[in-house]
Amino acid sequence: MTTDKKNLKIWIIAFAVVLLYYYGLDHFIMSVQGLPLNLNLTPAQ
């Protein structure tokens, strides 16, 4: 594997892990407040 490809793989893994973490964090924070993530712009109940 070339160095460029190796670097690309590192960056993709890093971003994938972090995105997953933040999605989980957002979900957790909103759910403990009794709220869904509500990404479809519906009014809160």
Binding site: N7, W11, I13, A14, L19, Y22, L25, D26, L41, P43
Partner: protein, 616 residues
């Protein structure tokens, strides 16, 4: 029989004494159920019942005539004294907290410079301690003189807790003096651990003192353990643990450390700029850097503690929250933004200037302009007001009560984005500074860097997304809820940054740091920090206290004194400024005293000659 009756004669009053004392301590009418016991006579039961009725008396309702005056506004006197006591109290409670940490680092690293620095920090705290006590005593006298009914009620509610506070003060003094004066006597080996334990006790007592005193302030804002007319119905614990107690405890604890760090930073800057030798200049440069590090590290989570406090205020009384952030006091939050912006800009500027100490920092120079850009834009958004006081013609010219930019940028979602990004980018400055004299040697350094960049990038996106999407496109409940997401994003950056760097730069190759090789301009940033912190404390302390409006104790005891109104912003601003300047004058006095203790007068020439002659 006689002996028995003699014993009983002493036993009953003794029992009564214990019961009465326990009333004071627990605040309960009959904590042990002793009234009516076989040992007590009917007369004693009646007496106890009478006492219990007396215990359940309502809060006093003084009239304007009941407030003694001395010709000067009573509120102004108490305002200045209370604020000065709080400034110095914050300083003397905070300094030992980071001193013990620095001392411990000195023990762990074996570097005596840490120990010397910790000792020197304590020197500043010692003079401040006496001044704290003097202002505290004067404040108590002023309160008893000018607000006698209020103080009588507070004494009744808190009872024996006041004596606990006084005992803690004695213990604080005891530990403080042993800790400071025993520094050199307990410097090495096991003795050092004894010294550290004394420091721990000092901090334990100091923290307890603070939370006890906090309970008086929070009782005034959100009383608990009393009924609707102010009669005490709970024990002392129920009186203390009101809904705002812990938010205030946390907020003050963190804020004190930030404030203490800023004040000792100014001392280090003063000493560095007056240093005659390069060695001293290097020492005080390092001391100033450490102080700034403490101040800003404590300051970064502070807005979140403040947010929690405000959320609890709103939860306790929406009216109180609106008075603070949507009513007469709302404009002061704009001033708060200016002061916090000043703190962040000064702290960042100090770090960027400090990078000149190390050649390795050149690789990060290019990032500084972007950090500065985000800080300035964030600062401008934060100080953008939502509403303006306008004339009819101005409203007509504007096309409505809100400017097309003030409308969206003046509300909380925009400010939440701004403040979180400012904190994230301030931490970035810290991180770059921390990395500037190191080169990572671990094999996973590339992965660590990629992870850190990804954390920053996604956190920034998440903060902006949460603020814009939930703040402007859904309803209010999401707006409030999503602000916690922003806090989570910022805290993730800070915690991940500290952990990743600690692991990645373990056994790193170190580049030389030239302590003392820093511009004098950067030292003025260290002076700016305590000025802004002090002003900020005066400002927000005033806001916190004023949300009670015309109540001494919210909903329980009305303030009917001639000063029972929220003063105009200009008047309040002048008071805050005056007390800030007064504090700074005292701080300069403390610096002078600390400096004086290190000076020795040279013996007169004649005496030296005579001495020499004697020897010869």
């Amino acid at each position: 029989m006689k002996a028995c009756s003699r014993k009983l004669r002493w036993f009953i009053p003794g029992l009564l004494l214990v019961s009465v004392m326990s009333l004071g301590i627990t605040g309960e009418v009959d904590p042990f159920g002793f009234v009516g016991d076989v040992y007590a006579s009917e007369a004693l039961v009646d007496e106890a019942l009478t006492e219990s009725k007396a215990e359940l008396k309502a809060a006093p309702k003084p009239t304007t005539e009941d407030y003694p005056g001395i010709g000067i506004s009573s509120r102004s006197i108490v305002w200045v004294l209370a604020q000065m006591h709080l400034f110095f109290g914050a300083l003397v409670l905070a300094v030992p907290i980071f001193v013990i940490v620095i001392e411990l680092i000195g023990v762990k690293t074996g570097d005596p410079r840490y120990d010397d620095m910790a000792h020197e920090f304590m020197k500043i705290s010692m003079t401040a301690y006496s001044i704290t006590a003097l202002f505290g005593g004067t404040l108590a006298l002023a309160l008893f003189l000018l607000y006698p009914d209020f103080m009588a009620y507070i004494m009744e509610v808190f009872g024996a807790q006041m004596m606990v506070y006084a005992s803690l003060f004695f213990m604080e003094s005891l530990f403080l003096y042993i800790y400071y004066y025993g520094w050199d006597a307990l410097r090495y080996g096991n003795s050092k651990w004894v010294h550290l334990s004394l420091g721990l006790m000092l901090n334990g007592v100091g923290a307890t003192l603070m939370v006890v005193a906090n309970s008086w302030a929070t009782f005034m804002m959100a009383p608990s353990g009393v009924n609707e007319v102010g009669a005490v119905v709970g024990n002392i614990w129920e009186v203390m643990k009101g809904p705002l107690w812990n938010p205030i405890n946390l907020h003050r604890f963190i804020a004190n450390i930030a404030f203490g760090g800023a004040v000792v930073g100014a001392y280090a800057a003063f000493k560095m700029m007056t240093a005659r030798t390069q060695e001293l200049r290097a020492h005080y440069d390092w001391m100033g850097y450490t102080s700034n590090f403490i101040a800003i590290l404590a300051f970064l989570p502070l807005p979140f503690a403040g947010y929690w406090l405000m959320a609890e205020i709103y939860a306790y009384s929406q009216q109180m929250g609106i008075t603070a952030m949507g009513g007469i006091l709302a404009w002061l939050f704009i001033v708060q933004a200016v002061l916090i912006g000043t703190i962040l800009l000064a702290a960042n500027y100090y770090l960027w200037s400090g990078m000149s100490r190390c050649e390795g920092s050149r690789r990060y120079d290019g990032y500084i302009k972007y950090i500065a850009f985000v800080l300035v834009v964030g600062f401008l958004i934060w100080v953008t007001p939502h509403t303006l006081i306008l004339t009819a013609s101005e409203v007509a010219a504007l096309g409505g009560s809100h400017h097309h930019l003030l409308g969206p940028l003046g509300i909380m979602p925009a400010k939440n984005i701004a403040v979180n990004l400012m904190l994230v980018f301030t931490f970035l400055s810290f991180q770059l500074y921390g990395r500037s004299n190191k080169i990572a040697t671990v094999p996973w350094a590339d992965m660590g860097n990629a992870l850190m960049v990804a954390i920053y990038a996604v956190a920034i996106f998440n903060i902006i997304f949460a603020g814009v999407y939930y703040g402007y496109f859904t309803n209010t409940v999401y707006k409030v809820g999503s602000s916690v997401m922003q806090v989570g994003s910022t805290l993730t950056v800070i915690i991940a940054g500290v952990v990743i760097d600690a692991l990645m730069y373990k056994n790193a190759k170190l580049l030389p740091v030239n302590w003392g090789n820093v511009s004098n301009r950067s030292q003025y940033a260290l002076f700016a920090l305590p000025v802004a912190f002090t002003w900020l404390m005066a400002l927000m302390g005033y806001v916190r206290s004023s949300v009670r409006t015309d109540w001494h104790i919210y909903t329980i005891m009305k303030d009917t004194s001639p000063d029972n109104f929220i003063p105009a912003i200009g008047y309040a601003g002048n008071m805050m400024t005056m007390v800030t300047v007064l504090f700074l004058v005292f701080v300069l006095f403390i610096f002078w005293i600390a400096n004086l203790s290190g000076q020795k007068q040279a013996p007169p020439a004649a005496a030296v000659t005579a001495g020499e002659g004697g020897v010869a």
